[in-house]
């Protein structure tokens, strides 16, 4: 192929265009959901939950909700696009092309990152007015947002390859992704948990994504951002290796 990157770029563009054509459902709706969480939890829990010293609960909650939206929507983008193409059969248009497994991976994960950041950015812009959380170190914010979105985009790719039906996809989302994001410290600081659950939380890679992301806003976090970076980075490499292997071997794609 004369222009190996052009094919990957086209697939990336097509994947972005796909969610952009239904932007109300793919971006506006998750932003609204996150705002609801902020209004309800912020109102109910603001006087009860201790987070970081000198940080109000609503301020604390905003980065958590932003990151949760980034992660869930990055996952949703690659997974739902793939399952949809498999169920409707139009994945054949892609299967007959010379695109390599690297091209598939880069395009699907890239588009997931764009969707995750679009929703996360939307949540931030709408919620920041309630209680601005500060910007201690924007580099951590950008780094963890992109890396987290890429990790979930790659995970969505695996789930999309594995699932044959929409309900299998929904099971993956509801029984794995949702609990792991909810129990990762979006709504609380894990140091307020009993010692056992605090320990369990440290086994959840989502905790490190959210903790590292929050570090960029407040300059404080439950664990060192470097540890978070190492855990999230290693998780991304491991998940990507699995996704690339499945694409290369044509798992559930080429029989």
């Amino acid at each position: 192929m004369k222009h190996p990157f052009r094919g990957a770029r086209t697939l990336f563009y097509k994947e972005v265009l796909r969610f952009w054509k239904i932007v109300f459902q793919t971006v506006a709706a998750p932003v609204l959901t996150a705002v609801m969480y902020l209004l309800i939890f912020g109102h109910v829990l603001s006087d009860r939950v201790q987070v970081f010293d000198g940080v109000g609960y609503t301020s604390f909650l905003i980065p958590g909700l932003v990151m949760m939206s980034v992660l869930q929507n990055a996952f949703a983008n690659s997974s739902s696009s793939l399952v949809q193409s498999k169920v409707t059969g139009n994945l054949v248009f892609l299967l007959v092309t010379p695109l390599s497994h690297w091209a598939w991976f880069a395009a699907y994960v890239g588009a997931s990152v764009v969707r995750g950041l679009a929703v996360g950015g939307g949540v931030f812009l709408v919620t920041v007015w309630f209680s601005p959380p500060g910007l201690a170190n924007p580099l951590w914010i950008v780094l963890f947002a992109i890396l987290g979105a890429a990790l979930l985009g790659a995970l969505g790719l695996i789930a999309g390859l594995w699932a044959d039906k929409f309900d299998q996809m929904a099971a993956f989302q509801n029984f794995i992704i949702m609990p792991m994001t909810f129990l990762s410290g979006v709504f609380y600081s894990v140091h307020s948990l009993p010692a056992f659950w605090n320990g369990v939380s440290h086994l959840n890679p989502f905790f490190y994504m959210i903790d590292g992301f929050r570090r960029g806003f407040f300059g404080v976090s439950d664990v060192s951002p470097w540890l978070s970076l190492a855990v999230v980075g290693a998780s991304f490499v491991a998940v990507s290796a699995i996704a690339l292997h499945l694409l290369k071997t044509g798992y559930k794609l080429r029989h």
């Binding site: 190996p4 052009r6 086209t10 563009y13 796909r18 139009n90 248009f93 092309t97 010379p98 695109l99």
Partner: protein, 310 residues
């Protein structure tokens, strides 16, 4: 170098209870510039063979090459050389016709492909649908888009997997005149179809598959010449005598029988008369590909004299 080469291709689908051998040692070449027909009843393995060619499935054993490129080891070059019109009527509901074609071009590394896209749209009668969403198109129109999508990168080898199944006469004519033109310009065409008159009219050479094996492979003219070449067609209300009943094709009152020569025609008519059959509206004509097909498919044993041509 042949345009397409199948060498000893076998495919076994392993199910939970039983394995199904869909292809069993299929070998043949398609020469450059040929209009080649692949025929066989449902379940014979035609679509499996094409799926392996396209990289949608993997052969259990054997090699497949497109323009000298192995479809597994050198898949990118093989797929650049191949344009596949899938059998299923699939489409991406998010995009318009032109968007679909531009995206498909991009997958093959092509930018600014609009001149060729416009030519495809005009030749396939899609020019006024270019900006319609795929969802809004009728089945026949979607089929045309599938053909256009397969051709965006001007592949030297074009594969049509039952492209006219369930489409109207107008599209068939549009499609065949366009594909015939591409064939004249040097594109190799591989066609599977259920319409045997299409294969007879278009294909210079034909392979027939039965239960995963090649049972006939020859020039269309030779296939027609090498078999019972005369066809008797008549109407009757009486049951046929046991001597001719097994080889007759009966559709309601219409009976068709094949014969090798005039002597056999005479003896068939004598048998019918002897059996008390009242023959009405008798016609005697040349056998067509459908008769050849049925004769080969009904043969229980493999025909070595035909297979030897392979």
């Amino acid at each position: 170098m042949p345009a397409v080469s199948f060498q000893n291709v076998s495919k076994t689908y392993r199910g939970e209870r039983a394995s199904v051998r869909a292809l069993d040692g299929v070998s043949f070449d398609i020469r450059k510039g040929e209009f080649f027909g692949l025929l066989g009843p449902n379940g014979a393995g035609k679509t499996t063979l094409i799926s392996i060619l396209a990289g949608l499935a993997r052969a259990t054993t054997g090699q497949v090459q497109v323009m000298g490129h192995d479809v597994v080891a050198d898949y990118a070059a093989a797929r650049m050389a191949l344009g596949i019109v899938p059998q299923e009527l699939v489409f991406d509901p998010f995009f318009s016709v032109r968007e679909s074609l531009r995206i498909q071009s991009g997958y093959f590394g092509l930018r600014r492909n609009d001149d060729w896209i416009d030519e495809l749209l005009v030749n396939l009668g899609l020019a006024d649908k270019a900006d319609s969403n795929m969802r809004a198109l009728s089945g026949g129109m979607k089929r045309r888009v599938l053909v256009a999508q397969a051709l965006v990168h001007r592949p030297p080898v074009i594969v049509l997997d039952e492209p006219t199944a369930g489409v109207d006469v107008e599209l068939r004519q549009t499609l065949w005149s366009f594909i015939a033109r591409l064939n004249r310009e040097g594109h190799t065409v591989l066609l599977t179809t259920h319409y045997l008159e299409e294969a007879e009219a278009l294909c210079s050479r034909i392979a027939m598959l039965k239960r995963g094996e090649v049972v006939a492979l020859d020039r269309t003219a030779n296939l027609l010449a090498g078999t019972a070449s005369t066809m008797l067609r008549f109407k009757t209300d009486q049951p046929l005598p046991a001597a001719v009943a097994p080889q007759a094709r009966v559709t309601g009152r219409i009976v068709q029988l094949t014969a090798r020569d005039a002597t056999e025609v005479e003896s068939l008519l004598a048998t019918l008369r002897g059996g008390g059959v009242n023959v009405e509206d008798l016609e005697i004509g040349r056998a067509d590909l459908e008769d050849v097909f049925l004769e080969i498919m009904q043969g229980e044993t493999r025909r070595p004299e035909v297979a030897a041509v392979a």
